[in-house]
Amino acid sequence: MHSLQFSVPLLPTSRFKRHSVRCASDRQQLFNRIAPVYDNLNDLLSLGQHRIWKRMAVSWSGAKTGDSLLDLCCGSGDLTFLMSEKAGVDGKVIGLDFSKEQLSIASSRQYLLSKACYNNIEWVEGDALDLPFSNGYFDAITMGYGLRNVVDKRRAMQEMFRVLKPGSRVSILDFNKSMQPFTALFQMPLTIKSFSFGKEWMIDNVVVPTATVYGLAKEYQYLKTSIDEFLTGKELEKLALDAGFSYARHYEIGGGLMGNLVAAR
């Protein structure tokens, strides 16, 4: 089994009860709590790969110079900053999230990173299910690791459709819930295969113990539940088409560990 080197003790997962993170308020509080370590854990747990996946998501969105762009569930702003670079000084980017703590970190990063084009970013605390924007405003939308966490995915898709200009795209990056994990296994190179096969093992034996060091074990156990309850690529395509999008395609990336839904209005 592919092993990562960690200098933290492995703790038995049975020690912690599974916490049901059902309602939006619970999830909002969860993301507020993990905000201080969110970026570091993303880097650690994906071995820095998340940066590549996010660049791919932005490319798929079709964002370009001068555009008005929206990054939903922006968190600490990784995708927002990439969108900002695409839009340039004549464009505009809104980073929206329902976690005030994540937005505070994003705002601080904006100031510290000191790139001229980042002045085109505005942060808004808002709800992906009730977007504070008028119809047909944005040239492109990105959403990274957000759709899995909204309590009403259908409504989120409908709101994204509403605020998009005709002909524009939404690019939604998230974990991939594979329909046929065992079939896919045999087609992958050994290193990636062991990593993907061990997704659940990884969460139980690497992700949660690492998060435990920061006192966030329950919060990262939520990750496993949310992936289990997420939709497959085909189901996501159908969700987008049902919401009114004229085109929807789900791409598997990161050896099948991640997926990116691209939908056009």
Binding site: S25, V124, E125, D127, F133
Partner: protein, 87 residues
């Protein structure tokens, strides 16, 4: 220097810039919002709700909104920071 000033103004919570206030609408009615300087907030006259602006960031989650009294549509009381929510 301009960027620093803008950042400091936002941190002081004196409100959002004009571009942003033009883009944003009420999350519930999708109608235009009116900027209030003191306390910094965005008013949705269509539904009689005020949304706070904290550290320069507009808070437009529906549960962040505070219902305005009918006598109070043009000014706000001292408890404007309290929000109507189900926490």
């Amino acid at each position: 220097m301009v960027r620093l000033s803008k950042w400091l103004l936002k941190e002081a919570g004196t409100g959002v810039n004009k571009t942003l206030s033009d883009i944003l609408v009420c999350p519930l009615s999708k109608q235009a919002l009116r900027v209030c300087e003191e306390p910094p907030s965005l008013i949705s006259d269509s539904i009689g709700v005020s949304f706070p602006i904290k550290d320069g960031i507009p808070c437009l989650v529906p549960t962040d909104g505070k219902i305005l009294d009918t006598d109070d549509t043009m000014k706000h009381d001292n408890a404007a920071d309290d929000s109507v929510n189900n926490k």
